[in-house]
Symmetry: C2
Subunit: 153 residues, 2 copies
Amino acid sequence: MPRSYPQAKSRLEAALQALRENHSRVTAPRRAILKLLTHEHGPFTVEEVHRRIKNAGDVVTVYRSLAAMEEIRLVRRCDFGDGAYRYEFNMGEHHHHHIVCRGCRSVKTLDFCVADGLERMARQLGYANVSHALEIFGLCRRCQKKPLEMAGA
Amino acid sequence: MPRSYPQAKSRLEAALQALRENHSRVTAPRRAILKLLTHEHGPFTVEEVHRRIKNAGDVVTVYRSLAAMEEIRLVRRCDFGDGAYRYEFNMGEHHHHHIVCRGCRSVKTLDFCVADGLERMARQLGYANVSHALEIFGLCRRCQKKPLEMAGA
DNA sequence: TATTTAATTGCAACTTACTTGCATTATGAA
DNA sequence: TTCATAATGCAAGTAAGTTGCAATTAAATA
Ligand SMILES: [Mn+2]
Ligand SMILES: [Mn+2]
Ligand SMILES: [Zn+2]
Ligand SMILES: [Zn+2]
């Protein structure tokens, strides 16, 4: 059971407010999606969000809602390279990176970034609008003990 | 016109040899694929490889060939997050990273890595088989001058 | 060189994550 | 309450990539 965030409720309220301020509307599916994202550790795939929520509506709604939330910077999308994007709540907080288990897809957060220097370098080379994607992959302890097929290695 | 690599011919020969040593077979499609990858700067999508090569056979063959070559470490796959994997020749060389233009998908190579420390950290946390993915994104100078739709921003 | 084995290919069908069009519903501003 | 328009649901469409299988062919071996 993932532990819920402290301040989850106020984060939820702030997120709903941000929706309103962006000419978006607060609907039952969006409320449910944001409740999950603010209360539990992600990131989550669209399918996971949809599965875990009552009132999330159609999957298409989850796709569209998360895309809209990304636009207005309520959530971040990340790519673990396994064919499904994942979303996590991030409302203006500093970005971070993950160690992702290739077996169970569990995630450890790395709360700092080593790519600032690279971004600066890219800007010096003339690039605008610079960003980066960084994920660490490995097999977690638990998955190392399981037979390989289960661990997905 | 991309400039061709020095030593391209011997790299190609070495690659074909590596295929043989791995109980793989040297076929016309594979020869053509490796000729492209050793002679021109990548990385390339499967579609690009297929389009630019006579004798590359069916696209499925390109998919399967590149997958096989990745298995035996002749090529590396990278993910620019735009829906199509890309492959570049890399036969035991040190890995590197890229600055990728979000407009034209042109690539600048960064011949060093800043994630070694993170990998070490992951191993200390108990992860095995650690690796990472890192790409820098931006809009290159040329694309900054184009209208936004063209630049894909 | 001829034989044999197993890797590779081509084709068509399939999967999967995600997108789009459109008619209907419902939010929230006026 | 009215009303403009944002969001939704459903169905259909994309697009990258995978898979099954029969036919082909590289290359090991006789
Ligand atoms: Mn995170
Ligand atoms: Mn490269
Ligand atoms: Zn694990
Ligand atoms: Zn560009």
